[in-house]
Amino acid sequence: MESFLIAARAVHYASSISLAGVFAFISFVAIPEISPRLGQRLSMLAWASLVLAVLSGGAWLVFVAAQMSGQPVAATVSQGLVAIVLQRTRFGQVWMVRAVLAVILAALLSLPRGWRGRLWNWGGLAFAAGLLASLAWAGHGGATPGRPGDLHLAADMLHLLAAGAWVGSLIPLALFLAGAWQNADPGARTLRRVVTRYSVLAATSVGVLFAGGLANTWFLAGSTPALIGTDYGRLLLAKVAIFVTMVTIGSVNLLRMLPRLAPTAAEGAPRQRAALSHLRRNALVEAGLGLAVLGIVAVLGILPPGLHTEPGWPLPFRLELAALEPAAIAALAIFAALAVICAIIGVATAAAGRYRAMAAAWASLIICVAAGVFTARPAIAPAYPTSFYAPAEPYSAPSVAQGARLYTESCAVCHGANGKGDGPAAQVSPIRPADLTAPHLFAHTPGDLFWWVSHGKANGAMPGFAAVMSPADRWDVINFVRARAAGVLSQKLGPEIATTAAPAVPDFAFETQNGQQTLHRLLRNGPVLLVLCEAPPSAARLAQLDAVQRGSGAAPLRVIVVDLAAQAMSRAETAPSPPPVAISPDVTATLKLFRTPADGPETDLMLDRAGNVRARWATGKGGVPDAETLAKDAYMAAQIPASPENHAGHIH
């Protein structure tokens, strides 16, 4: 059924674009020059497009209703589900509006020729554009919430309209050129004017398509792995490649063929006729490529966007730009810019037929690429198909606690109870098991770890656990290992706000007077001070923390006080006598990873908005901070931009 939906979508996109293209061609390109014969042909093309659009739109509606309800197509119609979709979903409401637009367009096309004036042209253009642009509501862009959603929707609409103006008017252009070819004396100046006007329309549309496509890629693919590692991304790249081919053909038309349409007397008409047929063929080829693009678009619309599928990384290595010196990154940027310039010169010289210059440009390009690879060498890290998988289990206390149990069962025998790589089996292993508390752990993506836990290490020292652990279990173990290493790393921090943070504290839920709260949601308001106590904190300390939280400091600081020994949690805002609330042992076990026995009764962690640990204090290591220090550090921590949210926390 999915293939029927794709087919209906493809036909509907193509016919809506063709209909808008006819009116765009009449309004922007050919108004005065339109012959009665061409007008008749365009009218027939518009009718055919409208009928196809209505039929395919109906099919799309039925298939979508079936998909939404999970019922077979026949049941969808007989049980009145289509009516429910029409009345009660936004897709249905958009479709009803579009049906009205289609009826108006049919009425316009039925008007006799004598009644058609300028107003008819522009009215038809407006309604056909409305029919096309409203398709944006049926796509991914229509559902993003808030201001980004409006932007996305606007970008999608512009993208559709530009496609209509450019690709949709290719067939009308071909019809016009065919008419000119059949006509013995096409009139060189008329021809040139029409083709030039078409080129302006096409070039404008291409610019809009670039901008809209760029916005869409940003919204839906999001990253290089998503682009080359998912079906969605690869189809998108294929679409871009076809688009570039179309632009190239269009440019050749403009640069090579346009001058030949107005031949000098010496060259004569045959040259003009050859150019005409060449132009017409190119327009048809471009239209065919445009149809291929629309086929891809039809598939893209039903695929989950690249951001929401796990990208299978196709290469055995990846670039870890963070591992490079700033100077090396600058050099890399310069090489990239030079390479782009060389490529541009290469294409331009090829188009101009200057082949020696072209060869020089391509040679320079190869040198730039080689220099870039040489500079980027230290950043090349081994990668695996799962390297860019996002953890399927959220990085949170329940997962970490479950991972700790699984770690004790399966991993501690080699890697040791504390993860130092000193388990009982390590003594007899020819290769020392990895120290899972070393900072180096974070040089690997969670996806790298997932590959090793699943399939073992290539050196044979570590077995794979794919057969005995579910994927969720493996992610739990990885979350635990990362949380423990984060705890160990955080011990290196001092009372100053660090420029290089220790990795994040796992998310956890806790009770407040107003119900349940989580660390992540609290962090949206700004930095958080996490106070971990082994014994109930004194009333004076609670009052002090309460004052910090309520204080008139430059930046708001939220305080969470956790009494690990009593397994109780309170927030400083309820001080001085907070009622202890039961919390799950999972949370206590997870937070204990961020303390050491040497800390004494209290450990304080300053978390930036991403949850990363930026400063650390302990009673046993220089004492806990006073209100003034906290206010100052909170202000500094608030200035650190929160890294963009990834989708790792979502449950799929």
Binding site: R90, A203, V206, A348, S584
Partner: protein
């Protein structure tokens, strides 16, 4: 001249695609829930509330809550908030201590379906 500009634009486009921007979600996925995913609450909640990354279609979005032995413990159908269409709420019967599973099926307004499930625990007193 137009070609050259187009080629420059193409190069800029390619460079921008190669760069790594951040993304905005496009299918409706669970952003967060109350009670939080996997969490333990001391007192039984009267409802489960879920916040999604996209606006939902009320007619085709459902959620159910079951206890360990598979009995339904929701006291009515899940409802999408009329003010905030990304919010889905399931009313609950009075819950004894135990572990509960929430299963959701969401249809976002761009006609895509997603589903998922998560647990929460009501701690014994």
């Amino acid at each position: 001249m137009v070609t050259h500009r187009m080629i420059v634009a193409a190069a800029v486009c390619a460079a921008a695609i190669a760069a790594k921007p951040h993304g905005v979600c496009a299918h409706a996925f669970l952003d967060h829930a109350s009670p939080a995913v996997g969490s333990s609450v001391p007192t039984a909640p009267t409802a489960v509330t879920m916040w999604f990354t996209q606006q939902l279609e009320p007619a085709f979005t459902t959620a159910t809550v079951i206890d360990k032995s598979g009995n339904n413990v929701d006291s009515g159908p899940a409802a999408v908030d009329t003010q905030n269409p990304t919010e889905l709420r399931v009313p609950l019967k009075p819950l004894p201590a135990g572990t509960y599973t929430v299963t959701w099926h969401a249809l976002s307004v761009d006609t895509h379906t997603t589903q998922g499930h998560f647990n929460f625990e009501v701690a014994g007193r």
